[in-house]
């Protein structure tokens, strides 16, 4: 059982007022809030350790390097990667996907096929479309059911020896569906295709084991799981990463440089050109420590109780429809009220100090599927409370009465 009151005291922002009222923060799927344990690490880094890493002989540089590499090991352990060098620091999920997509530009040819799901965020669609334009490969789509569940029998038929890559999110950002990635990965591997999983929405709720999953690439962002923005990670199986050429050229990623011939550094540095987000990387490690301190089992249990409570309460509102009704879903509630625009509901909730997201959630294909302009999305975290959900329900009631 979580001590939510004690947890909330870790998050300074949760005690602020918005429009004169206590903040209710239900936009966790966009970014999570930061506990003081992580903020302190960032302050400590700039107060005590700040130096460029990896090349310095001086003490500060060594200490900063140790802290950064320790964070890589924390991430490795969290995701159960076989080697620390399989963890590549990135600026976030989007960069991780672009890094892999850019590498495949040299590996694909006309006639090759890539498979994406209908549930993706634009960041797991557009880089691959750009890759297809460059290489002549074709993009195939796994469709979804009205409940927001992927049609696995269609996926099976799409797979073949021409399939080179499959990329699916672990959890849908717009609907919260948890996809059967274990099955998706093993089916792709039967045809020798590599699989990239976008874990941005899963990692705040689920602790993935990349070795057990057998996944080739797994990407995520720190800011969705109590870490800072601007940092994330790409896990890649050693052999899968070694197939890819470097992403960006620069310092740090080289072994030797001359004007005749440059040789590249080994993993992970081959993919980490330039000075990285050092404080961010260290804080990413601290964020994982913080969440593991609470425990992902307790987090999942509590969030599912929040979701069930909110679902039951909201469903009682006349004309309210929930989008995404998979049995396996994270604490995300996407909904609309008949005849009302999500933007209007979101604006009124904001006036009441309640932060939700409205719009297409960077997943326009899903909105097109339902023929709606967007939804109101309330996404919950382990620091949210049942009382806050009551305020959301009350807020939606008020919005409905004002707008109808």
């Amino acid at each position: 059982m979580l001590d939510v009151k004690k947890i909330r005291a870790d998050f300074p922002i949760l005690s602020r007022k918005v429009n004169g009222q206590d903040l209710v923060y239900f936009d966790n799927a966009a970014t999570s809030q930061t506990p003081k344990q992580v903020i302190d690490v960032i302050v400590d880094y700039y107060s005590r350790l700040n130096a460029n890493i990896h090349r310095g002989v001086h003490k500060l540089s060594q200490e900063a390097t140790d802290a950064y590499e320790q964070a890589r090991k924390t991430i490795q352990k969290h995701f159960n990667a076989a080697h620390a060098h399989e963890i590549i620091f990135t600026s976030g999920t989007t960069e991780g996907i672009n890094l892999v997509a850019s590498g495949y530009a040299t590996l694909l040819k006309k006639g090759d096929e890539l498979i994406v799901s209908a549930l993706e965020h634009h960041s797991n669609i557009v880089p691959w479309q750009m890759l297809c334009e460059k290489t002549g490969a074709t993009l195939k789509v796994i469709p979804m059911t009205p409940e927001g569940i992927l049609e696995m029998d269609v996926y099976e038929n799409l797979l073949g020896p021409q399939t080179k890559l499959v990329f699916v999110n672990h959890v849908s950002n717009a609907l919260g569906t948890v996809n059967p990635i274990e099955q998706i990965i093993s089916m792709a591997h039967d045809y020798g295709a590599r699989v990239l999983i976008d874990g941005a929405q899963a990692c705040p709720h689920i602790k993935p084991d990349v070795q057990k999953l057998g996944v080739d690439f797994y990407v995520t962002s720190a800011h969705k799981l109590c870490g800072p923005t601007g940092v994330g990670m790409l896990y890649g199986k050693e052999e899968a990463l070694n197939e890819l050429p470097p992403y960006q050229g620069g310092g740090e990623m080289i072994a030797t440089v001359s004007f005749e011939k440059t040789t590249y550094a080994d993993l992970p540095h081959k993919f980490e050109a330039g000075t990285p987000n050092i404080a961010g990387g260290i804080a990413f490690g601290a964020a994982l420590d913080y969440m593991n301190g609470i425990g992902f089992d307790s987090i999942a249990q509590y969030e599912s109780e929040l979701l069930e409570y909110a679902t039951n309460k909201l469903k009682q509102i006349d004309g309210l429809k929930i989008f995404g009704e998979a049995t396996e879903k994270t604490a995300v509630l996407s909904f609309n009220v008949a005849g009302l625009h999500p933007y209007d509901i979101g604006s009124i909730l904001d006036q009441m100090g309640i932060a939700v997201r409205t719009g297409h959630h960077c997943a326009q294909p899903i909105m097109d599927y339902y023929k709606i302009p967007g939804t109101v999305r309330a996404s919950f975290s382990f620091y949210n409370t049942f009382e806050e959900i009551d305020r959301l329900v009350e807020g939606v009631h008020k919005a409905v009465s004002m707008l109808q």
Binding site: N19, H341, Y343, D344, S347, Q351, G359, P373, M402, L403
Partner: protein
Amino acid sequence: MSSIESVQQEIIEEFALFEDWMQRYEHMIDLGKSLPLIAEEYKTEDNIIKGCQSKVWIHAELKEKSLYFTADSDAIITKGIIAILIRVFSNQPPQAIIEANTDFIDQIGLKEHLSPTRANGLVAMIKQIKMYAVAYQTQLN
């Protein structure tokens, strides 16, 4: 015809009467319902103003050297915002529209709608209205 400044002043005084956000929003919702609606023929994909979470269409017509606007949106609060803009800018000479400032939006407590994060396109709407004014002013010259 009242000048743009005097209409803005009128709106500021009107909004000053409200005691809280709810009254302000209820008024905007009412204004939204009174919006002079755009003719269906102008409600095309091309005419949608970009940068809005809700769809917004604005059409301008020149009559007797003054511009008249009609508009629509699929969101009611957005409609209220356009209704306020149209009240300020409709039945005005293009040159006056080009030169007008829009500080009154701050003063009626709708400042948050100017923020780009709101993505309601208030800024884009004002830009579109001014673009129409520039285009018609060129015709008049």
